[in-house]
């Protein structure tokens, strides 16, 4: 989609507090038009609050942002004409059917009734919801609800779409479906701001990623740059007996650097550049007589990215006040 402004989002020093908690504490973002931009962080990092400010749902306490050159506060109505939001809570009406939801949005976006009906039918078909179209949304599965939610966001093609954790809680199949939809949307020219807790997801979809923690952007770059900053991959080992973990830690430390104990009491991981080193490390464990339940060589997890960037794990701590605040706001 051609636009005279090269940046879809330009945010400078966004701040938002709830009571004493600074949910967002000086976020800068620059999102190129036509790209997928990932905002990666644990629960309570300030992702949702940032999205809500950019989508004109919350007024920033300080800082400013433009969406395609329109100020999100002074020119909020113009921004609303360009964006659509798929929130963390499904942003569809549970008391209506899938079809009614889409027809309603079509009408509200300026389609005539016949056009709205036709568009609803087309989207239901494309999103595999045709059979469920006259069922109430409250009876939909999580994956169906998400797809309807995304369909609702594109009844009229937005220039910028906010997706807040679109695959959280979905099974792998539904997840892949959502990813396919996102890829197709981008190919058609929509810019997407994607909030996610999964590095994996950001890696697959995003052209650029900002890692956010405690309301601040702590790292920014392409997925490749980000992964390079934490090493190319990691060996994950799960032991049969958690009692063996400290011994396993010593053995692994001999073969690999920076062994990290996972939250799971039987699991450990360590950055590992290639399969040879992984094989050596696993062999060393076997020689030491430590029984392994399973092991894998994979991308660094969000936990590891956080550990590398901040020195603390990306814990999902319900006692974290910022997590609570964000949950209340959402």
């Amino acid at each position: 989609m051609a636009t005279s402004t090269p940046l879809a989002i330009e945010a400078t020093g966004l701040v938002k507090s709830f009571g004493d908690t600074k949910a967002v504490d000086g976020v800068d973002l620059a999102v190129r038009s036509g790209s997928v931009y990932g905002v990666l962080g644990p629960n309570g990092a300030g992702k949702t609050t940032t999205i809500r400010m950019l989508a004109t749902l919350l007024r920033p306490d300080a800082g400013s942002a433009q969406v395609f050159g329109h100020d999100i506060v002074k020119d909020a109505d113009a921004v609303r004409g360009l964006v659509s939001l798929t929130g963390q809570l499904a942003s569809v009406d549970e008391d209506l059917t899938g079809r009614e939801n889409l027809v309603l949005l079509g009408l509200l976006l300026g389609l005539r009734r016949a056009q709205a009906k036709e568009r609803a039918g087309e989207l239901l078909e494309a999103f595999g919801l045709a059979d469920a179209s006259s069922r109430l949304v409250k009876n939909y599965s999580g994956g169906m609800r998400r797809r309807l939610d995304i369909a609702a966001s594109i009844v009229v093609t937005p220039q910028l779409m906010f997706l807040d954790e679109p695959t959280t809680g979905l099974d792998p199949r539904s997840r892949n479906q959502v990813w396919d939809i996102i890829r197709t949307l981008v190919a058609e020219g929509t810019t997407i701001l994607l909030c996610t807790q999964y590095l994996d997801e950001a890696d697959r979809l995003a052209d650029g990623i900002a890692v956010i923690d405690h309301g601040k952007v702590i790292a920014e770059g392409t997925p490749a740059q980000l992964k390079a900053s934490v090493g190319s991959g990691a060996l994950h080992v799960r032991l049969l007996d958690p009692e063996d973990r400290s011994e396993a830690e010593q053995v692994l430390a001999g073969a690999l650097d920076a062994v990290h104990l996972e939250a799971d009491p039987a699991a450990l991981s360590a950055p590992c550049p290639d399969a040879d080193r992984a094989a050596e490390a696993v062999a060393a464990l076997a020689r030491a007589g430590i029984a392994i339940a399973d092991f894998s060589l994979g991308q660094p997890s969000l936990d590891e990215v956080f550990l590398a960037l901040t020195g603390h794990p990306a814990q999902d701590d319900p006692a974290d006040p910022s997590a609570l605040t964000e949950a209340e706001v959402a």
């Binding site: 009408l107 396919d180 936990d303």
Partner: protein
């Protein structure tokens, strides 16, 4: 904890679905914005769809007034007016007022319930006339008001009520009551946005509307009341609305009453509609 590196092989069966998806996702030109009227109407339609899917929700707004008609007519009618038939003549327009006004509290409760759901976020980010979601739901609710009123009138006729002004008078009275209810419902939508739970809205709403209804001429002729109370009852807008409805149904409408009722409805709307809209947008 292992990150599963599954790739998504696209099988032949998904190819057709892929084409449908691409077609649906192909960017479409943005239509001109929905007019204020079209957007409000769409929200009114949404309200009616909810009634269509859960018709039971109309029970709470119809059963109470029906009970009141039966209870007051047969229990107190003889004692208050000498005979049940005569009392029915007096009370029916009043019960019509009461039942419709009670229904307005539910508009506030419904709005409060709506706020807890994710769909409000989407509505707030739509490029539409700001009051449209509220005006639309209240227009949809007006249909419920008409329904609640009709139930009472039909019940009254079944019990022997015969309005002197005939159908025209009854329709005029119902229309007036619904217009007043539309104005009053803005008070409850404001409450609905200020209070934390649907229950709180219900309690606060009925705590206000209940005494106001009883301290009016809906149930008794104020002539017998102590002077202080009578003074209040005489200026209570609900009394004036009940008198105006009686006048319309009996064929001797009082122009002053009707004008006062319309003025009160206009003032309530002028004050509370902007407050509601502001609170709704503020989030």
């Amino acid at each position: 904890m292992s990150v599963n590196p599954t790739t998504t092989p696209r099988s032949a069966t998904t190819a057709a679905a892929d084409i449908a998806l691409r077609k649906a996702l192909a960017s479409t030109p943005r239509p001109p914005r929905a007019s204020a009227f079209a957007a409000s109407l769409a929200f009114a339609w949404r309200g009616m769809l909810k009634v269509k899917h859960v018709p039971e929700q109309l029970l709470d707004v119809t059963i109470t007034p029906v009970m009141f008609v039966l209870m007051f007519t047969y229990l107190f009618g003889g004692a208050i007016a000498g005979s049940t038939g005569e009392y029915l003549e007096y009370i029916l327009p009043g019960i019509l007022v009461m039942s419709v006004l009670f229904t307005t509290v539910y508009s506030g409760i419904a709005l409060n319930t709506d706020l807890t759901k994710g769909v409000v976020d989407r509505i707030r980010t739509l490029p539409i006339w700001k009051p449209a979601p509220l005006v639309g739901s209240l227009l949809g609710d007006s249909v419920r008001y008409v329904l609640a009123g009709t139930v009472i009138i039909v019940l009254g006729v079944a019990l022997g009520y015969r309005p002197d002004a005939g159908i025209g008078g009854v329709v005029a009275a119902l229309g007036l009551v619904v217009i007043f209810a539309f104005g009053l419902s803005w008070v409850f939508t404001t409450l609905g946005l200020l209070l934390r739970s649907p229950n709180a809205v219900m309690n606060a709403g009925f705590m206000g509307i209940f005494p106001l209804t009883f301290l009016s001429n809906v149930f008794v002729d104020p002539e017998t009341l102590p002077s202080g109370l009578k003074a209040f009852v005489d200026v209570n807008p609900i009394s004036i609305l009940a008198s105006a409805s009686r006048g319309l149904m009996e064929g001797n409408p009082d122009a002053t009453d009707i004008v006062v009722v319309l003025a009160v409805a206009a003032v309530l709307t002028a004050v509370f509609a902007p407050i509601t809209t502001w609170l709704y947008r503020r989030g």
